[in-house]
Symmetry: C3
Subunit: 430 residues, 3 copies
């Protein structure tokens, strides 16, 4: 095969895969919006839509260079900033990596939903895409990165993308505190049901779709192995769902839609690190084990009153660690204790670097421009308070006119602390 043909094939495949990864943004937006209350549906979607936009400019200008530029020290790249005259295939890679950066950043939006201010969120997201994610990413994926030099394996980003995103989310949670009413005075968690579960399922399907590009595209080349990578990805997601159905049966719990969708994502996160190096049978095992790992992660967060509104940290954080570790167990060359240790080191490095840096960042943003909305705005909903609109104006009468949604109760007076334009009453509804 001539190099000319190879580079064309690589270009076609990587561009196609990047387009699929792009679409994961829509998946996140739907999953997260569906899992929050109607009064915050728009705010969460807006965070997804906009974090991708501010992040893309930052990643082009700075992030890509930090992550993939020449890295003499092994700690960050120093070239390839704001590329404007690169080789054609370099742009293809940049396009692909830009979508990965957006994925890492957008994991945060769901966890912090229903209370973080829109502007504060966007500033944090810009910093993650521009600095935090690329620096850690350079350790694992830059040819000269210190973790890569040690032999750390993270094929498509269980750690680089998912654990890093989850650590940012955890830092945000610690800085923000739980939503009002999420925990009773005695600490008992009180579930807050999402307003649109079909959106959650559709978002799950879209994320799954995008994951094929995420994992099989991480070859960054046309390769006969992408069929097995895609197959492994699919089987792990399926196995995690099957595991969850059985677990729910064993525990006597009903099988909830949110559990099933999150379980599929958990399996997909877990297979991400090793998808190119394990057999289909091992992929099934990795996915099966992701199911209890996610459940344990949920219990862990509740024990510490860390209110993750969509379960992002159990999925992306706990299962990211599991999947990264699993490479040492399941890779085709056999169980490898040294590899397991390196894998754990990589996960520890992600937590040890990302969590404190992101925590300090969110505190600084908070002291600069306030991190959390006012209590009255949280109650009222961030759609109204932050954007002056609501998601379903004809089905949320109360929110538009000052009453309570859909119950027909007497309208409350408009809170004095909000200073928003009155939304025009819909004209000619009937």
């Amino acid at each position: 095969m001539t190099p000319e043909v190879q580079v064309l094939l690589n270009t076609l495949w990587v561009v196609t895969a990047a387009i699929l990864v792009f679409f994961m943004q829509a998946g996140f937006a739907l999953v997260e919006s569906g899992m929050v209350r109607a009064k915050n549906a728009i705010n969460v979607i807006m965070k997804n839509y906009c974090d991708m936009c501010v992040g893309a400019l930052g990643f082009w200008a700075v992030g890509y260079g930090l992550m993939f530029g020449l890295s003499p020290t092994g700690w960050f790249g120093t070239t390839k900033f704001a590329p404007n005259s690169a080789e054609p295939f370099e742009y293809t890679l940049l396009f692909f990596q830009m979508m990965f950066a957006a994925t890492a950043a957008t994991i945060v939006s769901g966890a912090l939903a229903e209370r973080i201010r829109f502007n504060a969120y966007l500033v944090g997201s810009f910093m993650i895409t521009t600095l935090i994610y690329p620096i850690y990413g350079s350790w694992a994926w830059n040819d000269n990165g210190w973790l890569k030099q040690l032999g750390f394996i993270d094929f498509a980003g269980s750690t680089v993308v998912h654990t890093v995103g989850a650590c940012c989310a955890l830092a945000g949670l610690a800085a923000l505190g739980p939503r009002t009413g999420r925990y009773a005075k005695d600490g008992t968690p009180r579930p807050i049901p999402g307003h649109n579960l079909p959106f959650v399922a559709l978002g799950g399907f879209i994320l799954w779709l995008g994951w094929f590009g995420f994992n099989a595209g991480s070859t960054t080349a046309a390769d006969v192995g992408i069929g097995r990578i895609a197959l492994n990805t699919h089987l792990a997601g399926c196995a995690s769902v099957v595991g969850t159905i059985f677990l729910c049966g064993l525990l006597g719990r009903p099988v909830l839609l949110t559990s099933v969708v999150n379980a599929s994502l958990a399996g997909l996160v877990a297979i991400t690190a090793g998808c190119a190096f394990v057999t289909p049978g091992s992929a099934i095992l990795i996915g099966l084990i992701a199911a209890p790992v996610m459940l344990l992660g949920e219990a862990f967060l509740d024990a510490f009153k860390l209110d993750d509104a969509v379960g992002a940290i159990p999925v992306h954080g706990f299962c990211g660690v599991w999947g990264t570790f699993a490479v040492g167990i399941f890779k085709e060359s056999g169980v490898d204790v040294r590899q397991m240790c390196i894998q754990l080191l990589g996960s520890a490095a992600a937590f040890g670097f990302v969590f404190p840096v992101a925590y300090v960042m969110y505190r600084m943003i908070g002291s600069w421009m306030k991190l959390r909305v006012a209590s009255v705005d949280e109650q009222r909903g961030l759609d109204y308070a932050e954007h002056g609109e609501v998601g379903y104006p004809e089905f949320q009468d109360g929110l538009l006119h000052g009453g309570t949604a859909s119950t027909g109760a007497a309208p409350a007076t408009r809170p004095a602390t909000t200073n928003r334009p009155v939304i025009a009453s819909p004209i000619g509804r009937n």
Copy 2:
């Protein structure tokens, strides 16, 4: 072209097509969920999400081998079970075929919606993907299959996927009976409107999208002919919609969204068998004729009080037969009566094998674990009864708190036969 280049091109195309076929699951979920009442919206989606998961494991372990393993008798394959060390391209094919199996199984979920128990459905779906679909599939698509040896032509599965799925659905319908209230005492059908028609249209678009992978990917190779296949696919879907618009005009009926979406699917099913062998003009005719075939199918089912909740059988069954037969009429080499007979034989074999086997299976599942939900649960909705949650908790007040949805009527007492956790009341809705 070197074999190395050819296999890479084949891999890229077949993986891409398989990813598109995967996404059809989301299309089915939305079409079916949108066409049922809000109280069953989650249950239907859950069936789609989960049947794919249990089916994928079964198809990997058993189904693929039955369908594509060496088939000395021509009746089923005997090798390639649970493949763990296959050639790279074999995994690509398996990934593609796995998505086809999931499609066949998921056709059933819509037809049986609003009454079949979740667990019973999943067991049935597992059997279809693991045994029923692959055995019939081996007849038509295994190199040594007896139908293939006879000259049966079903390029992308009008019969193998769609008719087979529809026969399973029909068997389920016969075993389950119609939904309560669907037919008046004198047998007059009473339509039950779906709760979310925009979902139906979005699902239709997604299915259509996936169909390009379904049909053009069935080359299982990169081929210059895929452009015409995709074009034929599109034109047949379009023609069926245009035919339906004219038919509605002739009959003085309003043009309903559900009719238009189902018509597009009918045209797509019909062109599936012959898409690689007919001209664009013939594709338009095949699609046009699918429109009345679907309408006749609907009337036929109602005459027998077979309550197909989403019209799956007219679309996938009747138009699957039509499309398979049409190959004999429209293939480029000219009208071929012998081919028509073989095509009819293939359809008859699908019905004659799948319907009785699936019927016995559903009866056995029924005697083992009950097939149908209790009457009170059917009335209450399967979302609440089977999963303990509802799709839109803020817009379905009654369901959460014991009253009737959206009407504000006095709450009914909770039915004694359900034994589900009380759903937490949403916190801080306003």
Copy 3:
């Protein structure tokens, strides 16, 4: 590289891109449906679903030949009508171009929403896809087209697709007049909020996804440059959103979801003409400037009481012109005043040909079969009046039974002028 490999690569890429462009139909349907009132949600989606279908048949039969057949005069093509025995790659191109034609036509549906009759709309849409779009298209894209011969550059259709679609929409608006209640007696515009903003965002994501196929597929060949084209496309969309966020901040306005989604589309339209000829930095500037261009376009329309229900004309028309002009400023060979003039000529030709022809067409359709629904039907909603169904029957009680939606007010009597079948009352809602 052998020609055999090249044509296979081209086929794979162009088919993949065309499939992505197809999916833009779903994006338009969601954006437009979400931006109108619930009572018209179905009607708008139906227009999108059906215009694609009637248009595809017309474009196959006539449009493709007019646009890409031999064009001896440079004004329209005269061969390649109803192709049934073409070369394989010709079908691939036809499939791709058919999706472009559908895009141009469907831009119209949103602008004219909530008042144009379904049948009248479909006739207009058929004429656009079959005649108006292909004739202008032949000027710019046919090898012998007079604009192309002059040196007009419109790589992927800022003018050919987007400005042409917007001019048709403008003509329709002029023929139809604004929606009842849209402007107060003193001319003050009164916003009419869309009923489902999450749909708008999902539609935006889907359009963005499809745009990668739209722009990067317009190479109509596998090319190492498609990575940069996709990157430029993405950066322009992102930059326009960032520009809008800053503009809203400067103007003290809340950041609305509809503004953000339309801004992203504005940036994508603007980069469409030049995506293959500019650097990423220039793409960012082109996108940034699209933000104020769109805002000015909105103000311009309101000044003339042109009631564009979804803001399609500012996005596709004004930003189409901007993007076409921007090629003269930003193309890599440097600022080129002569090119700028040619670009302006191309835009002027689009307006000068399309607007009057489409206006006359809509007037003729109006005198033949009425263009606008009756006032009572506009008030009642086109879903009920034109299709006899509503989008969310369980959440729009009033519409089904004669009362007002969701408020529980006393039912109005059914308007005497509508003559539709009574919709069956949902059975067993609880």
